[in-house]
Amino acid sequence: MESQYNVRGVSLNDAKPDIRFGLTYDHASGAYGGLSGILGDTARNGVQPLGYIAYLGFAKPLPNGWIWDVGATNTQITLYIPASTLLRSPQNTTYKQASTERYRADYSEFYSGVSVHDISARVYISPDYLNQGVSTAYLDLNAAYRPIPQLRLYGHAGALTPLDSSKGAESDREHFDLGAGAVWELHHAELRLAWTGVTSKVEYPINFRQKNNALILSATGFF
């Protein structure tokens, strides 16, 4: 459970809480995969299934201690965007009412990267990120530190950039996000308090007004 569904610094459900249910599998060979369903509070439409994220990948430790990671994700997500915050109707609007526009995205990303100890870097390529008609690259840098075994502090920096700038819209712009947080780990649960911020006046990738930063509280249970 988390206080908002936030992806790369952008809330995709009008800063309302969401619940995710995930199934993950890690094989000793390094192959892994998972499926995560998302249920979100859409405010004006109540609690609605927002979609799912499926992923499949392979991680391989290298002789120098680094871990190489490659994989792909597929995301199907329905966003309920308050009309009052909409700057321009997205391309894939499937439903419109006075107060809310419903927008459905079905897109894939391919990623590759390396990690060593508590530092990781990955690049994600999407041919049509959030179905905005723009292919993108996202660079993701993360680092974590444990002052005590149960507490993990982390930092994150990301940069999303269009690979084809022919659309001439806000989506041509780079979008940077930063994050930092603390996670308290238990055997079968963890609590997270995080801050995330994005470059000012974020209108990309979806054309609706966004807050530039958010504080997110989440709780995860493992079964």
Partner: protein
């Protein structure tokens, strides 16, 4: 005087698909048999290693791979299941990412043997390996206090320490001292300890003699008008407490209380030293070969960390980790007979720091190893890329280390005087 050996216990392997577990233990050095304490009660614990999947992307919405809660939870459940099946209980867990395992400590009922339980766990297809937790002893001899002066240090005379310090002081070289607790407020050590970490949480975290003595040999302040001079007085120590000094029994002097370590606490300390970029790891201890610790030492060596260990004449091949390939094995140079491949360094009548802001004389390979760790810090300051330490050591006949030639890398007709002169000329030229 004091003679403190450290010994390490053996571990055995088990295997589980996604999981692994293990155990091991260490102890401190040898004393005459007659002086040894009564055998401690057998440790009724085993270590079980469950393999971690490689760190990878997770679509957690905040960047991915900050942690592995799902995997950790799964391994914990598997550990609990294994414990239930074997009638044991999970006592502790410690992730060791550098090895790619989660290590579980399990307590075995008194009516069962840890060896048998470890063997059963080892047959589970999901366990990488398991082995009994072993404990080792160290016992001090009565301490003879002395006026601790530089001129009585063996290294002052044999190693020409003051002259070496004109060339190198080990400035900012990070040495992990895996030992008992160091008295960080000791006047000859204050400011020398960059960090401390206690991997023996169930024991009072108070300064202890062995760790304090080893730290003093390596990095006590020089030229402070106090006590003695460390071999590398500008090195930075990481005081990793993996051993503890037992409470003396009734009628025993405190200084004779044994010092113990176990393989789990040692593994935690090694893992920490590797993760925190130690350049040299000093292990003034010995014990049986241990799979878990051996793998961690291999990773340290791969990461170009120099590992120095005390050689124990009472154990086969000098005991682990001294017997491990790539580890620099060190013995007291005055002890006979010399063993091929084992370097000799000052280890008798060595003044060093003692708890309570005092100094004392110590004996044993523990302190010989500490000398060599300090020497490698001097070498590393001069040549940061050095990591194949054994190949650099210049020794006299009998493998006694020639510290001056090792630091200056002189040989043949150019002796230490010649090397120092060249070095001074070179410095003057610059």
């Amino acid at each position: 005087m004091r003679d403190e050996p450290l010994m390490l216990s053996s571990l055995r392997p088990l295997v589980l698909g996604l999981l692994v577990a293990a155990s091991a233990s260490l102890g401190l050095a040898q004393t005459p048999l007659a002086d040894q304490p009564a055998p401690a009660a057998p440790i009724q614990q085993v270590l079980v290693m469950l393999r971690m999947a490689p760190q990878h992307f997770r679509p957690d919405g905040y960047g991915g791979s900050y942690g592995d809660g799902e995997g950790r939870s799964a391994r914990w459940r598997i550990a609990r299941r294994l414990a239930k099946e074997q009638g044991v209980s999970v006592a502790d867990e410690w992730p060791m990412p550098v090895l790619g395992v989660d290590c579980y400590l399990m307590t075995v009922p008194a009516d069962r043997s840890p060896e048998e339980v470890a063997a059963r766990l080892g047959r589970d297809p999901g366990v990488s390996w398991s082995e009994p937790l072993h404990t080792y002893h160290a016992k001090g001899e009565p301490i003879a206090h002395n006026d601790p002066l530089y001129r009585v240090q063996p290294a002052a005379r044999e190693w020409r320490l003051a002259e070496l310090h004109q060339i190198s002081t080990g400035r900012d070289v990070r040495i992990a001292v895996i030992d008992s607790a160091i008295e960080t407020t000791h006047r000859d050590l204050v400011g020398q300890i960059e960090l401390t970490k206690n991997f023996v949480p169930d024991r009072p975290d108070i300064p202890e003699d062995h760790g304090t003595g080893v730290a003093g040999v390596i990095a006590a302040h020089a030229d402070n008008n106090l006590g003695m001079a460390g071999v590398a007085p500008q090195a930075r120590l990481m005081g990793l407490r993996a051993c503890w000094q037992e409470t003396p029994r009734a009628g025993e002097a405190e200084s004779t209380a044994p010092t113990l370590c176990d393989s789990l606490s040692l593994a935690k300390a090694l893992d920490f030293a590797i993760s925190h970029k130690a350049q040299i790891i000093n292990m003034s201890l010995s014990g049986p070969p241990d799979l878990l610790l051996g793998r961690l030492v291999d990773i340290a060596l791969t990461d170009k960390i120099i590992v120095v260990a005390a050689y124990d004449r009472n154990l086969p091949n000098g005991g682990f980790p001294a017997s491990h390939k790539g580890v620099v094995a060190v013995a007291d140079e005055t002890a006979d007979p010399h063993v091929a491949g084992v370097f000799g360094a000052p280890g008798r009548d060595v003044p060093t720091t003692e708890t309570g802001n005092r100094w004392f004389l110590v004996n044993g390979s523990s302190y010989a190893a500490a000398h060599v760790s300090g020497l490698f810090a001097l070498v590393r300051q001069r040549t940061p890329s050095v990591h194949n330490a054994s190949a650099l050591v210049v020794a006299y006949h009998g493998d006694t280390i020639n510290a001056c030639a090792t630091l200056l890398q002189t040989s043949g007709s150019c002796d230490c005087d010649c090397g120092l002169s060249r070095e001074h000329l070179s410095i003057a030229h610059k």
